[in-house]
């Protein structure tokens, strides 16, 4: 219940900016308005099966049950707090979907993250800060981690063989049987047509637009790459 939250969190202890209640209510309404929402939350037994299955709950003060409960109870203050804190501790593995009521706490978190990103919440910026290179890679090439990103100095705990692989990366890659893996700057060979379709999807679905709120510079670079490529193909985005 909203009025009880005030007993536990005061404005000056939270590590994120406090906002007016109507802002929190608007964010909460955005979560509930999502097309997927009715399929992700029915009712909660508070049985804890989702927490029992959750790997993140072992390492963080994180509970998928509390996420489902806070939304079910329409506790807008707590939902806001969770959007600024808890939701980024989820690894989106969806072990929680074993819920006997058919809830999907991980899916609720997906929606909450999207709302957090679309609204440029501080937590979203902070969470995505270290991922600009990954975002750049996945959105520009369609593959996430490419072999040339695995520099030995970045991963000293991987042992001495990483250096050897890294020095002769192209050779090692050619040793792999599937020809589509003979790449170094992408995870695998991405077909031209796939890439163009991806760019259209990023642009049309609003995914590229989401990046603008959290990293304006990255957004500008990606937008230029995509628009140039689509222009070459004669596609009007």
């Amino acid at each position: 219940m909203a009025e009880t939250s005030a007993l536990y969190k005061s404005d000056d202890v939270a590590g994120y900016p406090e906002v007016a209640h109507d802002v929190k209510a608007r964010l909460f309404d955005e979560v509930k308005a999502d097309l997927r929402f009715p399929d992700y939350l029915y009712g909660c037994y508070e049985c804890g099966i989702c927490v029992a299955a959750c790997p993140s709950a072992r390492f963080y003060d994180f509970s998928p049950r509390r996420i489902a409960q806070a939304i079910a109870r329409e506790d807008v203050a707590l939902v806001y707090q969770q959007m600024e804190e808890d939701i980024w501790e989820c690894s989106q593995c969806f072990s929680c979907v074993r819920c006997p009521r058919g809830n999907n706490p991980g899916g609720l978190i997906t929606i909450m993250r999207e709302v957090a990103i679309n609204n440029g919440l501080a937590s979203a910026r902070e969470a995505l800060e270290g991922y600009s290179r990954i975002i750049y890679k996945i959105m520009s090439t369609g593959t996430q981690v490419s072999p040339d990103m695995l520099q030995p100095d970045a991963f000293p705990d991987w042992g001495p063989e990483v250096k050897d692989v890294s020095d002769n990366l192209a050779l090692w890659r050619r040793a792999l049987p599937p020809e589509t893996l003979h790449t170094t700057s992408t995870g695998w060979d991405v077909a031209e047509r796939t890439l163009i379709e991806l760019y259209v999807i990023w642009l049309e679905s609003g995914v590229l637009e989401m990046i603008r709120e959290v990293d304006e510079g990255l957004h500008a670079i990606l937008e230029e790459i995509m628009q140039d490529r689509l222009e070459e193909e004669g596609i009007e985005p």
Partner: protein, 352 residues
């Protein structure tokens, strides 16, 4: 068919079902009810709709009453009670007092004297049932729901926030009622749905220890209450109700969120449990049948014989045996009826 007669004590759901069953298999039956009307607690306490199918209690009970009163094998004695019971051959000689006073021979007896609602004045928490007009019990809300007039008794205004407090007078060593009353989770949830139907803007909370809605009640009542009607179930029991301005402040713990809780309500509904009715206590003494430590009549050969008492020829059914929902009450009534008829016929001359 012979000249045997079964006497059924109590005209509620169980007693009516027992009387109907005895007549259905062709034996004469006298139904003794001390109130001046039939229908028992659902009628006496103004129940709105029956759990779980939501049919009007008056309509459903009316159907049962008609079935019994229209059967010529049934003799109904309203405003009457059994004052004494003596052995009479293989049966009993009963002495009735009240409107139907007089002697009555019974070849077998079915006791269907039911329960009464726990008196919240005996609660060891501080709920203030007799102190605050806006603290009511399940049956008080039933009466308001029946009239389609759910208001705060203090000011006649419709409530904006209602909470139910579960297990009032049940599962409590301090009170002495260690048992679960079985039906209150379902009844509270049913009433919560009715409140949301009649007052769609009213927020409804249920504070509970654990929700016990077994079998089909799960998705007949519990899931719709939560998923369709957005009734808020909070695991944690209220310890105290206080006046705060013109609201009630309830204090408890939101246990699964791990935080103490103080919230204001317009109406607090105590989900009172079942205790043996005065009739059940009196009839146990009159017929000399054993009672359990809570005062309910002991089912002497449980679990596979649910209706025999400690005395041959005396059977019991429904909530006289302990907390029971309607379905269990009428089922045990039919079991008691057939056992009573069998007992009565076993001592009748063949062809009589």
């Amino acid at each position: 068919m012979g000249s045997e007669r079964v006497v059924v004590i109590g005209g509620g759901p169980a007693g009516l079902a027992a009387a109907a069953a005895v007549a259905d298999v062709g034996s004469a039956v006298t139904l003794v009810e001390w109130a001046p009307f039939l229908g028992g607690t659902p009628i006496a306490e103004n129940y709105a709709a029956l759990t779980p199918n939501m049919e009007s209690a008056e309509v459903a009970m009316g159907r049962m009453i008609d079935r019994v009163t229209s059967n010529e094998l049934v003799d109904v004695r309203l405003g009457s009670q059994v004052a004494a019971c003596e052995p009479d051959g293989h049966g009993f000689r009963l002495e009735l007092s009240g409107d139907g006073a007089g002697p009555l021979h019974a070849d077998a007896v079915v006791v269907a004297t039911g329960f009464q609602h726990f008196d919240p004045g005996r609660e060891t928490q501080m709920y203030g049932y007799y102190e605050f007009p806006d603290v009511v019990a399940l049956q008080d809300l039933e009466a308001m729901l029946k009239d389609h007039h759910v208001v705060r008794p203090s000011n006649g205004q419709p409530p904006e926030r209602i909470c139910f407090v579960q297990c009032v007078g049940s599962r409590d060593r301090q009170i002495g009622n260690e048992y679960c009353s079985k039906v209150c989770c379902g009844i509270a949830s049913k009433e919560a749905i009715e409140v949301r139907q009649q007052l769609p803007d009213c927020k409804v909370f249920i504070f509970y220890i654990d929700m016990r809605m077994y079998g089909y009640w799960e998705n007949q009542i519990y899931w719709p209450a939560q998923e369709q009607y957005h009734v808020q179930y909070v695991k944690g029991i209220i310890t105290e109700v206080l006046q705060k301005g013109d609201k009630l402040l309830v204090r408890g713990e939101d246990t699964t969120m791990g935080r103490p809780m103080e919230v204001t309500m317009d109406l607090v509904v105590l989900s009172v449990g079942m205790e043996p009715s005065l009739g059940t206590r009196l009839m146990a003494k009159t017929f000399g049948v054993a009672q359990n430590k809570y005062g309910f009549i002991d089912a002497a050969h449980a679990p596979l014989d649910t209706v025999s008492t400690s005395r041959p020829g005396i059977f019991a059914c429904g909530a006289a045996l302990g907390p029971a929902d309607l379905e269990d009450s009428v089922s045990s009534a039919a079991a008691a009826a057939v056992r009573a008829v069998a007992h009565a016929r076993s001592h009748q001359p063949v062809g009589a």
